[in-house]
Subunit: 126 residues, 2 copies
DNA sequence: ATAAAAACTAACCTAAACGTAAGTATCCAA
DNA sequence: TTGGATACTTACGTTTAGGTTAGTTTTTAT
């Protein structure tokens, strides 16, 4: 990793992985992806009942950014009242195994990490 | 994923993977991990020259949280002026392969994602 | 007496993320 | 004519992440 690359990757816009992590690193995206993976196709309000603690606004924002990145496909049925369905794209499917690896790693290490955090708080005392 | 689990994992504090992603999802953590992986052992100012665009404050904050999570080991040498060395722990080493997978996935898909974003902007027009 | 060196910390500020509550559009059924 | 159904949007307010600049500590070298 030379200085050129480092300078470039320090810039969030130009760093591929930051472009991706800025999305899956936010509060709701992962949960939406995992629920859609399990349920395959869901309407807006169905997603909302699965993830009851998300606000309508944040669900809307999250779905929009997933759709913009081509990770979720949105289908509108011209009805009244409206019907809109959401499902994962192949691109999202290819990302999900990596996410599951992260989930597994986290589950494996979370207890030790929490212990480390407590210990750190104790020794740094304040 | 039943309702109980979902309710639990909607809470950031109790969700293992959110506990992890909240850290690696922030602006500087990944870069610090990757530089330390390559260089193995670095002092504070050495890290700062490798990642020149980070402020001292954010480098300090980032290293502290990595240390708290047991991902970075900090060694103080009782000298004047002080000498402090940082290096990755085994826990961090076990996480790095997953991070590299994410980096690879991002590099593979970033162009298509950026194209999707542009297209989305066009069709949603405003 | 002053400065230099390393590794920070403190005080302050801004912008972005996130949350809450209410409103919008459309048609149909009562 | 009112209300319900669905999928949102808008207009706020609050919280958190991150940035900037200056200051702190300690001892040795000048």
């Amino acid at each position: 990793m030379d200085q050129e690359i480092l300078k470039k990757y320090s810039n969030v816009d130009e760093c591929p992985v930051r472009n991706v992590l800025d999305r899956i690193g936010n509060k709701w995206t992962l949960l939406v992806l995992l629920v859609l993976e399990e349920q395959q196709v869901l309407r807006f309000n169905e997603l909302h009942t699965y993830i009851s603690t998300i606000s309508q606004k944040m669900l809307s924002v999250t779905l929009k950014s997933l759709e913009a990145d081509g990770l979720v496909k949105r289908t509108i049925y011209p009805q009244v009242p409206p019907k809109v369905e959401y499902e994962l794209t192949a691109r999202a499917q290819s990302l999900l195994p990596l996410i599951h690896n992260l989930v597994d790693w986290s589950k494996t290490h979370i207890n030790a990490i929490k212990t480390s955090r407590k210990h750190y708080e104790l020794v740094t005392r304040k």
